[in-house]
C-alpha cells in the first residue's frame, strides 16, 4: 500500500500521503490532535506497539492538509541509541570541492513544514534530544551551530513523538524537561467491535473471521498483567486475517501470527493456543 505520490524515491520532506488512510477513531483523539495542531502544540503519542499510532498520524496529516488540497508532509525519524545531534540536524560532508553541508531530516522538516515524527523517542540519547527543545516551545527555532545560523520553523511545522510505555520496557525514560514539552495522547488497543471492523478492512477477511480474531485479541490481552505477555497487537491480528484470506486455516494462521510471534514460553504458548482453539472451530 504505497501512499506516496510520484517516484519511488523522493526527498524525505516531500513525502505526503496521497489517499485517505483508513483509521477508525476510538475516542476523541482526532479532535484533540486537531486542536493541538491548530495551536502548534507538540504531541506525544503513547501506546503499545501495533495499536495504530502511526496510522493515526498518517490520517491526521491527510486530514489536516485537506483545506489546502493535499496532505501535510510527514517526515519520520526512527530514533536509536547511536543517533547523534548531527544525525538530526545535519553535517558537513567531504566533496571534491572541499565540504558541503547536508541538512539532516529534522532540518529539512523544519524548512519545509508539516509533521516531523520522532518514533520511539525514548531510545535516543538524552543529549541528542535536547536539540529539539527550542522547536517545542514558543520560539519554534532550530539552532544549527556548525553553520552559525538559526532556522525559524515553517508555519505548518509540528513535532510529534511516540513511544511505548510498556511494563517490560527498558529502564529508559524521557527527561522531564523534554517530556513536559508535549501534550500526550494515550492509545490502547481498540474495543472489540471497532477492532473487528479494522481487521476486516485491513485484512480483507470475512466478518466472522475478523470477529473471531478480535475476540482472541481481547481474551489474550487479559494476560498482559504482570508482564506475562504483551499484546497481541492489532497488527498481528491483521496478519492472521490476511493469512486466513490466503487460505491458511484460521487456527494455523493464529498459531503463526499470534501465538509464536508473542512468546517462546511453552506453557504460555499452550495456554494461548487453547484460547484460539476455543474461539476457532477446528
Amino acid at each position: 500500500m504505497n501512499l506516496a505520490r510520484g517516484d519511488l524515491a523522493q526527498p524525505a520532506e516531500a513525502y505526503t500521503i496521497a489517499e485517505q488512510p483508513y483509521y477508525l477513531p476510538v475516542s476523541d483523539e482526532v479532535e484533540v490532535f486537531e486542536a493541538a495542531y491548530s495551536r502548534r502544540i507538540p504531541v506525544l503519542l503513547k501506546g503499545p506497539t501495533g495499536c495504530g499510532k502511526t496510522r493515526f498520524l498518517e490520517y491526521m496529516c491527510w486530514r489536516l492538509g485537506q483545506p489546502q488540497g493535499e496532505a501535510l508532509p510527514l517526515v519520520t525519524i526512527t530514533c536509536h541509541e547511536d543517533m547523534s545531534a548531527s544525525d538530526l540536524v545535519g553535517r558537513y560532508l567531504l566533496s571534491s570541492e572541499g565540504t558541503e553541508w547536508q541538512d539532516g531530516p529534522l532540518t529539512r522538516a523544519v524548512k519545509s513544514g508539516g509533521i516531523c515524527y520522532l518514533d520511539e523517542v525514548v531510545e535516543a540519547r538524552k543529549d541528542t534530544l535536547v536539540v529539539i527543545h527550542s522547536l517545542t516551545d514558543h520560539r519554534r527555532i532550530l539552532a544549527i551551530e556548525k553553520r552559525g545560523i538559526v532556522l525559524r520553523a515553517a508555519d505548518s511545522f509540528l513535532l510529534v513523538v511516540s513511544y511505548n510505555p510498556g511494563y517490560q520496557s527498558s529502564l529508559k525514560d524521557l527527561k522531564h524537561s523534554t517530556r513536559q514539552r508535549f501534550a500526550a495522547v494515550e492509545f490502547h488497543y481498540p474495543p472489540r467491535e471497532l477492532e473487528t471492523r479494522i481487521i476486516e478492512h485491513e485484512s480483507g477477511a470475512a466478518p466472522e473471521t475478523a470477529s473471531a480474531l478480535a475476540l482472541i485479541g481481547e481474551k489474550v490481552r487479559n494476560l498482559n498483567h504482570q508482564g506475562l505477555l504483551e499484546g497481541p497487537s492489532t497488527r498481528l491480528l491483521i496478519y492472521a486475517g490476511r493469512l486466513a484470506v490466503q487460505g491458511v486455516g484460521l487456527r494455523r494462521a493464529c498459531e503463526v501470527a499470534v501465538v509464536h510471534a508473542m512468546t517462546d514460553d511453552r506453557v504460555l504458548q499452550e495456554g494461548v493456543t487453547e484460547v484460539v482453539k476455543a474461539v476457532v472451530d477446528g
Binding site: G98, N222, L223, L268, K277
Partner: protein
C-alpha cells in the same frame, strides 16, 4: 496430554496451561485445586479465587476428550464473569419475558445497604434453598448456551460433556413428583429433549417448564431473564406434591411439544413465609449437582468467604426470617435449619467454632486479619506482602528485624575454610579480573579510547575542511571502568538447613572428609563455607557486597541476619561472625528479598545483583494458610516472585539457587523469567556461587 497409564488426565498435569486459559477468558486469577473428596459431588465449593475440580478426568477413552472436560468446566466458570451472572440488578428488566413476574424493584426492601440484588431476589421465596438450586440450573443453562455460541471451537466438547453428564443423572422412577420435575429441569438444561415416561400429573408441567426455559438459549438472554425463568420454574415445581404415592401409570410426554394451555402465574411475590413443621425435611426437593458445573450457592448472595466456608455461608443464606433480624451479620444459634444441599446425609451442621483458619499457636492478641505491623525501633522494618488471591498488596504486613550476628569466638572458621579452598579462590579471582576482553559496552565519541570512531573522524575532518574547529571526541572506549558492581548474597537460614547434605565424600572439593572437626556437613555448614569463600573472593575484586541470612517465625517476626553489611568493610570481626550462623525457623522469602533490595537501593552502583540461596520452598505459619489447605505453597511462591519482580523493576538483577531436589517444579513457576538454578549437589555451593558471580558480572 495422556498420562502414561492411559487416557486419564490429571489436574496437576493441566493446571499450568488451564490457569492461563482461565485467566485469559475471565480476566481473573484463580487457584485450580483438586477436590479433597472427589466422590462427594456436592463438594464443589468455589470461591472468588479458588476453583475446585476433580483430581482426574477419566470419563472418556481419549485423552483429548478428558482434557476437554476440564476445559469445559473452566469455560463454564469463566462465563459467570463474561456473561454477567454477578451483575444482576433488579433495576434492569428482563429482555425476553414480557409478562414480568418480578415485583418492581422499589417495592422490595433491602435489609442492609450493602445487600446485593441477588440476596434481595432470593428473599422472595419461602423455600430459599430450592429457589437457589433452580436459579443455579437455569443460569447454568443460559451460560452453557452462551459458551457454545461464543466459543464455537468448544461446541463438540460441550456436547460430549453434557451427554456424559446426562448419562449420570439419577432415575426418575423412584422420585416423588416435585423432585422428579426438579430433576427434569436439570436434564432439560443439559439439552435432553427426548420423550419421557411419566404419570400424567407431570405432563403439562414438563411442557410448561421447557417453554419457560427455552428463551434462555437466546443470545439476548441476560441474568435477569434467568431470574424471571426462576420464578416460573419454582412455581411449577412447588405446585407439585412431594409425597410418595401412586399417581397413575406412566405415559410418554414430549418436552418439546407446546403446552396445551398458556401458563397462568398466580403466585404472588414475595411468597409468604411458611410455617415449618417437624418432618419438613422429608418434603424438600433436592437437586443432584451436575459434575462439570460449579456450585455457587453462597456466592449468589454476595458472601465472599476467604476460605471455602460453604456450610457457614449456606447456613446464613437459609436462616429463618423470624429467628434472626440480621441474617447476614450474625450466626444465631437459633432454630434447626435444613440445608439439604450441604450434607448428603441430611445432617444439620452448624459452623464450627472457631473458624477453620485460626492459628491457635500464635497466642498473643496480635490480630492475624487486621494486621498492620509497626516498626518500633531503628532495626525494625515493615514490609508489604503480595496476596495473589486478592491480587493486591497487604500493606505493613510483615515486621522484619535486622540484627548483626555477634561474632563467634574467633575467625578460625574463616581461616580454615580458606585454607581448605585455597586452590579455588585465586583461580576464581583471576577469572574475575580477566573478564575485560569479552562483551563490553562500547562508548562512542569519547575523548580517549582504544579505537577510533570512524564516523566521528569523518565528521571532524569535514568540519575542519569547512573551516570549523573539529570535535576532539574521536574514540571508542570499551567500558570496563571501575567495577561498579554491588552484590547481595541472601542465605536461607530456616531450620531445614540443619539437614545433612548427602553427598559422596569424594565430590567434596576440599578432598578430606573432615573439616572443622566434623565428618559430615549440614546444609548450613556448606552455606557457611560459601560465605567464607565469597568474602575472600569479593575482597580481591573490590566489589561492594553484603552477606545476609534470613528466617523467622510468622509475619511479625522475620529475622534478617547481617553477616557482612554492604557498607561495612571486611575485617577479622566480620570474618568471625561466620561461625555463629545457626539455623532459625521458617522461610518468609518475600519480606527478606524486599529488605535485601532495600540494601541495594541504598548503595549506588550501576550493576546490582541479588543472589538468593535457599534449600527449600518459601514457607511460614501464616503465609497463605488462610486460603485453605495446600494454598500456602502457591501463595508463598507468588509473594516471593512478586518481591523478585519488584527488585528487578528497581534495576536489580536477581538469581535464585536452590538445592531442594523437589524444587524443580515450584521453582519453575516462581522463577519463570528470572534466572535460577537447582544445584545437584549442595556441597558444590561455594564453587558454584563464585562461578555464578563471575558469569553474572562479566
Amino acid at each position: 496430554m495422556a498420562e502414561a497409564s492411559g487416557s486419564a488426565v490429571s489436574i496437576d498435569q493441566v493446571r499450568p496451561v488451564l490457569s492461563i486459559y482461565y485467566r485469559a477468558l475471565s480476566a481473573r486469577e484463580a487457584e485450580l485445586m483438586a477436590q479433597s473428596r472427589p466422590e462427594d459431588r456436592r463438594q464443589f465449593a468455589d470461591t472468588a479465587t479458588t476453583i475446585r475440580l476433580p483430581p482426574r478426568a477419566a470419563r472418556f477413552s481419549m485423552a483429548e476428550a478428558n482434557f476437554g472436560w476440564f476445559k469445559v468446566a473452566l469455560t463454564h466458570r469463566a462465563a459467570h464473569y463474561e456473561a454477567g451472572t454477578f451483575r444482576f440488578s433488579l433495576d434492569v428488566p428482563a429482555a425476553l419475558y414480557p409478562d414480568t413476574q418480578l415485583p418492581p424493584a422499589a417495592s422490595l426492601p433491602r435489609r442492609h445497604p450493602d445487600e446485593t440484588d441477588l440476596q434481595v431476589f432470593f428473599r422472595l421465596f419461602s423455600r430459599r434453598a430450592l429457589a437457589v438450586d433452580v436459579f443455579t440450573v437455569l443460569e447454568d443453562f443460559r451460560l452453557d448456551e452462551w459458551c457454545k455460541r461464543t466459543y464455537p471451537g468448544l461446541r463438540l466438547d460441550f456436547d460430549r460433556v453434557q451427554a456424559d453428564a446426562l448419562s449420570e443423572r439419577p432415575g426418575l422412577r423412584s422420585m416423588p413428583p416435585r423432585a422428579a420435575l426438579a430433576e427434569i429441569l436439570v436434564r432439560l438444561s443439559l439439552g435432553a429433549r427426548d420423550p419421557l415416561s411419566l404419570p400424567r400429573l407431570l405432563h403439562e408441567p414438563v411442557r410448561q417448564l421447557r417453554a419457560a426455559l427455552d428463551p434462555l438459549a437466546s443470545p439476548a438472554a441476560t441474568v435477569t431473564d434467568t431470574a424471571e425463568a426462576t420464578l416460573r420454574a419454582y412455581a411449577l415445581v412447588t405446585r407439585l406434591p412431594n409425597l410418595d404415592a401412586d399417581y397413575g401409570d406412566a405415559e410418554l410426554v414430549d418436552p418439546s411439544s407446546d403446552p396445551l394451555v398458556p401458563a397462568v402465574w398466580r403466585e404472588r411475590w414475595p411468597e409468604p413465609e411458611r410455617v415449618r413443621l417437624e418432618g419438613d425435611a422429608v418434603l424438600e426437593a433436592t437437586i443432584e449437582p451436575v459434575s462439570y458445573r460449579d456450585a455457587l450457592g453462597s456466592r449468589y448472595t454476595g458472601y465472599r468467604p476467604a476460605a471455602p466456608l460453604e456450610p457457614e455461608s449456606i447456613f446464613r443464606l437459609r436462616e429463618q426470617a423470624e429467628g434472626d433480624p440480621d441474617p447476614a451479620g450474625q450466626r444465631s444459634p437459633g432454630p434447626i435449619i435444613t440445608s439439604p444441599a450441604v450434607d448428603s446425609h441430611d445432617e444439620i451442621r452448624r459452623p464450627p467454632e472457631p473458624l477453620p483458619h485460626d492459628h491457635p499457636e500464635h497466642e498473643d492478641d496480635f490480630d492475624e486479619h487486621a494486621g498492620h505491623v509497626h516498626a518500633d525501633g531503628p532495626n525494625c522494618f515493615a514490609y508489604q506482602e503480595w496476596d495473589h488471591r486478592a491480587a493486591t498488596y497487604k500493606q505493613s504486613w510483615c515486621l522484619l528485624r535486622e540484627a548483626t550476628l555477634p561474632p563467634a569466638g574467633s575467625s578460625a572458621f574463616y581461616r580454615e575454610t580458606l585454607q581448605a579452598y585455597r586452590h579455588l579462590v585465586p583461580e576464581i579471582r583471576r577469572q574475575l579480573e580477566g573478564f575485560a576482553a569479552t562483551g563490553l559496552r562500547r562508548l562512542r565519541r569519547q575523548p580517549d579510547g582504544e579505537e577510533l570512531d570512524l564516523d566521528a573522524c569523518i565528521e571532524a575532518l569535514a568540519d575542519l575542511r569547512a573551516g570549523l574547529p573539529a570535535d576532539d571526541r574521536l574514540y571508542i572506549r570499551k567500558q570496563i571502568a571501575e567495577r561498579d558492581v554491588a552484590v547481595v548474597f541472601l542465605l536461607d537460614l530456616s531450620s531445614s538447613t540443619a539437614d545433612r547434605v548427602t553427598t559422596a565424600e569424594s565430590s567434596r572439593p576440599i578432598g578430606g572428609s573432615t573439616l572443622h572437626g566434623k565428618t559430615y556437613s549440614t546444609i548450613i555448614d556448606v552455606e557457611k563455607e560459601s560465605v567464607a569463600v565469597c568474602m575472600a573472593a569479593m575482597q580481591q575484586t573490590g566489589d561492594a557486597f553484603g552477606i545476609y541470612g534470613f528466617s523467622g517465625s510468622g509475619r511479625s517476626d522475620v529475622r534478617f541476619v547481617v553477616i557482612k553489611d554492604i557498607e561495612e568493610r571486611m575485617s577479622q570481626l566480620v570474618a568471625a561472625r561466620i561461625d555463629a550462623l545457626k539455623p532459625i525457623h521458617t522461610t518468609r522469602m518475600g519480606a527478606a528479598i524486599r529488605h535485601a533490595a532495600r540494601k541495594l537501593h541504598g548503595h549506588d552502583a550501576r550493576t546490582k545483583l541479588l543472589l538468593l540461596v535457599s534449600d527449600g520452598r518459601p514457607f511460614d505459619h501464616d503465609y497463605g494458610q488462610q486460603y485453605g489447605e495446600g494454598a500456602e505453597v502457591e501463595y508463598a511462591i507468588r509473594d516471593t516472585r512478586k518481591a523478585l519482580d519488584e527488585a528487578r523493576g528497581a534495576g536489580i538483577r536477581t538469581y535464585v539457587l536452590t538445592v531442594d531436589q523437589g524444587g524443580m517444579d515450584y521453582l519453575r513457576d516462581m522463577c519463570d523469567g528470572i534466572d535460577y538454578e537447582v544445584l545437584a549437589d549442595m556441597s558444590m555451593l561455594p564453587v558454584h556461587l563464585l562461578n555464578l558471580y563471575r558469569r553474572l558480572v562479566s
